[in-house]
């Protein structure tokens, strides 16, 4: 074994020695042979000639001997590489076209993979062994957004699930922050359990993190740790910040430290401004102290680590045991059908409630870009086929010099791998440009997002290298095998010969390219159409000429009385603005991060348990709105009356429901006069019915919803809505100024037009726009590549058939006949490819239907458009070569061969 290794090292590093050794050995043999020949009575020249003849093709023996010696691949590879670089440098035009073609295909793949990487692989930065983090979620069939748990439940899980080595909880809330004497601003903070930083395994950049024993009693330790980003951006990296005070929702807290620069919490994608103790919730959020005892107060997200030797399954089983025990402590019935689970953190993105569809979306998009890459590979393979024909003589010479077929194949493969690596580099560059364009798709909202560009994982680079090499292999293998299969006699005779099989392979290339292109185009078309349809969705309000601004009077410490006065004064002043038609406000902003979902039922149906659950209970989107809301939003009151000034805190409780809620609770009956109730609430009389709109996501199915009058249910995080006569954006600066003049200290957010909000909200059109842009871009690249491919193949076949065309013309064929001949040849391939592609696309669109909004998978305009468009464009690609065929001069072509 040792001997072999030293031999291997010998071969690799002393190849020159071995080569001279071998040459010397051969020379000795030849000379010995000459001597023997002389001894046998031959003349000097005869003896030399005989000895040389015996060695035959001298290179042949040496080549065979080298291969027999083993470890030869490495030295050959270096040789091939050098040769390949030289060849690519010599044929620059070919190299540039091939590299750019592959680069386009590769960049699409790298771009999509980088997005996938962010969702599936990107580590949570600054957290020790972040790949081991798990997220605890609750799945409740009655509530899509039920992944949170209460503090009391958390303590039970923490203490009674041995499978967790540690378990922390996080409550992510908006807050108004200010330093003493300065105006407050709105941001988001995390209330966390005392073990939070220890579980993260992070160190402070300044000061300290939580101390042992700190944060155990309610309101005892009003200490906060600032995030590095907040400290840098908002406080100018003030070195004396530790020990100073910061106001959180008007309450003074002590800054005890600044977290590490790379630590932005343990929730993916978001970056809180600061961390404070969960036990500080009552004083800072003004929540009641029974918050920590009330098992139904599901507020926290749980993040943990699995103990050594335990599996996720074991932990789930232990959770189930705890659930069984604590179910009795919850309101009866509320834990029925609820499953508590743990998933690895990277499988819970962007949010446990919606992470289920991501693998499907990722697969679809990766599949589409792979098809684009295959189109690109087919193009370059075609170029290589064409070049192989011109390189036949070179191959023949190398073969007669003793290169084996395997050696030639390897040489050609090395060349295509070189191409692919160059293309991979170019593709990486292109995809960073594309990545820059995708930055515009960061969802809006006032939640601070973590800076994803600085936290790239190494996977996209690995992916780029692997996919490039694969592309090189796929591209080069067939042409290399074919080119190295030499018929020496035929090549020497000088004719390329009519290789039927080669034509067949070329035809297959065109067919598959057109087919792949059809699939990618259909997918792109479906996503674009889906976006187009989505913008026509009935939202339940008119988004045009609507400006908005949000404020949180509760966080700012306004009492309900003062808050109501403030809102009345504010709306009066805003309504008086020029260009403003009407002003309204509501507690919930549609398609935002706070959906306001509640369980409601008919107040007259029997109560099932102490949670207030009644028979026929449904989940509905709620909103609390002022008297101008329905009119200003143009929500479309179908029946009954709107809220008015007589609906006050002292009058009977009233509610307006949407059509879907009415249909669900009182099918076929008149909802007016019926009584609606939500859990723990008082019955409210239905006084009106509005059209069903969209409340949580624009892509949602018709959702039940109801509106309460603000006067009867004061709740003062509100969004103002201004219906304007002209451009809504124009009034926004004035609105901001007016709010400032009324309360200089009040943070205002979401100041934008409703259209901007919908476009960029993760719950609005943002995901659809992103899908449409990516899929549309893919379609364009696919089309471009396929057209290049069709053109290349048809042009090549024309150049190969110049002689045939010349003969036809000489025999009296019309030039138009020749034109038709060429175009017909291309057309057949295009039609076959198109049919195959469209059939597969139908299957794909069935899979896609889960991701598409408001679109049937058999969208006729898309399919018809792709069929016609692709045919026309491909025919154009045939047209140019056909024109050239027409202009063939029979006299010249016949003479030149």
């Amino acid at each position: 074994m040792w001997k072999r290794m030293t031999k291997a090292i010998d071969v690799l590093f002393r190849r020159r020695n071995l080569e001279t050794d071998m040459a010397e050995e051969m020379r000795f043999h030849r000379e010995a042979q000459v001597e023997v020949n002389l001894a046998a009575g031959m003349s000097e020249s005869e003896a030399q000639a005989e000895a040389n003849r015996r060695f035959g093709a001298r290179g042949g023996i040496e080549e065979a001997a080298r291969e027999a010696r083993g470890f030869v691949w490495f030295t050959q590879f270096k040789q091939d590489l050098r040769y390949g670089v030289r060849m690519l440098g010599k044929h620059r035009a070919f190299t540039v076209i091939a590299v750019l073609t592959l680069a386009l295909g590769l960049s699409a793949n790298i771009t999509v993979f980088s997005v996938i990487d962010v969702f599936f692989f990107q580590p949570i930065t600054g957290v020790e062994r972040s790949e081991e983090l798990v997220v605890m979620t609750r799945e409740d069939p009655r509530n899509q957004f039920a992944s949170a748990i209460s503090w009391a439940d958390y303590e039970d899980y923490r203490d009674n699930v041995p499978g967790f080595s540690d378990l922390a909880v996080i409550l992510f809330r908006p807050a108004h922050l200010s330093r003493p004497g300065q105006a407050a601003h709105r941001t988001w903070v995390e209330f966390v359990s005392p073990n939070y930083f220890e579980l993260a395994g992070t160190r402070p950049a300044l000061g300290r993190l939580f101390l042992p024993g700190e944060g155990l009693a309610t309101g005892a330790d009003l200490t906060v740790i600032l995030s590095y980003r907040y400290w840098r951006d908002r406080l100018g990296s003030d070195p004396s910040v530790v020990g100073s005070a910061i106001m959180v929702n008007g309450q003074s807290c002590e800054v005890v430290g600044v977290a590490a620069e790379d630590f932005s919490g343990m929730q993916w994608g978001i970056s809180p401004a600061l961390w404070t103790h969960a036990k500080s919730v009552p004083p800072l959020l003004h929540w009641e102290e029974n918050f920590f005892q009330d098992r139904n107060w599901n507020a926290f997200r749980a993040v943990g680590r699995i103990a050594e030797g335990e599996t996720l399954e074991q932990v789930v089983a232990q959770l189930a045991t705890v659930d069984q025990r604590i179910a009795g402590l919850h309101a009866a019935g509320s834990m029925d059908d609820v499953v508590t689970k743990v998933v690895p953190e990277h499988r819970s993105r962007p949010d446990p409630s919606v992470s289920g569809f991501l693998p499907l979306a990722a697969t679809v998009f990766l599949g589409l870009v792979l098809m684009i890459l295959l189109i690109a590979c087919a193009n370059v393979a075609n170029l290589l086929f064409a070049r192989a024909a011109t390189r036949q003589r070179e191959m023949a010479i190398r073969a007669s010099m003793g290169a084996t077929r395997g050696r030639l194949t390897r040489q050609l493969l090395t060349e295509s791998l070189l191409l692919a690596i160059l293309a991979g580099g170019a593709g990486w560059g292109l995809s960073s440009i594309a990545g820059g364009m995708m930055e515009g798709f960061n969802p809006s909202g006032d939640i601070p997002m973590s800076d994803s560009s600085s936290t790239g994982s190494g996977w996209p680079m690995v992916f780029a290298v692997v996919i490039s090499l694969l592309a090189g292999l796929v591209t080069g293998l067939l042409p290399a095998l074919r080119a190295s299969r030499l018929d020496l006699v035929q090549v020497i005779k000088g004719g390329a010969g009519g290789d039927r099989k080669r034509h067949w392979l070329r035809d297959m290339l065109v067919i598959s390219q057109v087919a792949f292109c059809a699939i990618v185009l259909v997918a792109g078309g479906l996503f674009v159409r889906s976006l187009q349809q989505a913008t026509e969705i009935q939202l339940g309000f008119t988004p045009e000429n609507l400006a908005m601004a949000s404020l949180d009077l509760d966080l700012q410490g306004y009492s309900p009385e003062r808050g109501q006065l403030f809102l009345d004064e504010l709306t009066a002043e805003l309504t008086a603005l020029p260009g403003v038609e009407s002003v309204a406000y509501g507690n919930v902003l549609p398609m935002s991060t706070s959906p306001g979902l509640r369980e409601v039922s008919d107040a007259d149906s029997p109560q099932l348990d102490e949670t207030g659950r009644r028979e026929g209970e449904i989940q509905a989107a709620s909103n609390i709105v002022d008297v101008n809301f329905i009119k200003t939003m143009e929500s479309g009151l179908i029946r009954g009356r709107d809220f008015n000034a007589f609906d006050t805190a002292d009058s009977p409780l009233v509610v307006i429901v949407n059509q879907t809620l009415a249909d669900k609770l009182w099918p076929g009956e008149d909802p007016l006069g019926r009584r609606l109730v939500f859990r723990w609430g008082e019955p409210m009389e239905v006084i009106g019915v509005v059209q069903t709109g969209k409340y949580v996501m624009v892509s949602e199915a018709p959702r039940p919803a109801y509106l309460q009058p603000f006067a009867q249910a004061y709740n003062a995080p509100v969004t103002l809505f201004l219906r304007t006569r002209g451009d809504a954006a124009a009034v926004i600066p004035t609105v901001r100024g007016m709010l400032q003049s009324l309360d200089t200290d009040l943070p205002v957010f979401n100041t934008q037009t409703m259209e901007e909000h919908l476009r960029s909200s993760a719950f609005g059109f943002m995901p659809m726009r992103m899908a449409a842009y990516v899929a549309g871009g893919q379609g364009i690249i696919g089309l471009l590549l396929a057209v290049m491919g069709v053109y290349g193949v048809v042009a090549y076949s024309v150049s190969q058939r110049t002689r045939e065309i010349g003969i036809r013309l000489a025999l009296g064929a019309e030039r138009t006949d020749v034109f038709r001949l060429v175009v017909r040849g291309g057309l057949i391939l295009i039609v076959v490819g198109l049919v195959v592609g469209l059939v597969i696309a139908v299957g794909l669109s069935l899979v896609l239907s889960g991701l598409l909004v408001g679109l049937s998978p058999f969208d006729l305009p898309v399919f018809a458009g792709v069929a016609v468009g692709l045919t026309v464009v491909s025919l154009l690609a045939c047209y140019l070569p056909a024109r050239r065929a027409m202009s063939v001069d029979p006299a010249i072509t016949l003479k030149c061969e």
């Binding site: 072999r4 071998m22 050995e25 051969m26 043999h29 291969e67 010696r69």
Partner: protein
């Protein structure tokens, strides 16, 4: 004088056998096989050297530079311990094969 085509794999056996008594260079091996077979076997250089390198890689023989009969530098091959074992098994196999073939030729009619 007609040449006999060597059976696949037989060359290795011949080379091993010829090297059994003493180290030899490539030309000597070819010459000796030629002479011992009474001119019936003619080893092509194109098969000999690849075979030698292959056997060297397998560890059956090892090479060393030496000086030839007429005082020239030549590469001498000699059997290794592994090569001797290989010679024994290959010889046995060969004898079984020829015996079997002989039996068939003699007895079949």
């Amino acid at each position: 004088m007609s040449k006999i085509e060597l059976l696949q794999g037989t060359l290795d056996l011949l080379v091993l056998r010829v090297l059994q008594s003493a180290p030899m260079h490539g030309f000597g091996i070819a010459l000796k096989i030629h002479l011992l077979s009474a001119d019936a076997l003619r080893i092509e250089e194109g098969s000999l050297y690849p075979a030698l390198y292959r056997m060297e890689r397998k560890g059956w023989i090892e090479a060393e530079w030496g000086v030839s009969e007429n005082n020239r530098r030549a590469k001498f091959y000699q059997l290794t311990r592994k090569g001797r074992k290989q010679l024994v098994t290959e010889t046995a196999t060969w004898q079984r094969l020829t015996a079997a073939v002989g039996d068939v030729l003699a007895k079949a009619d």
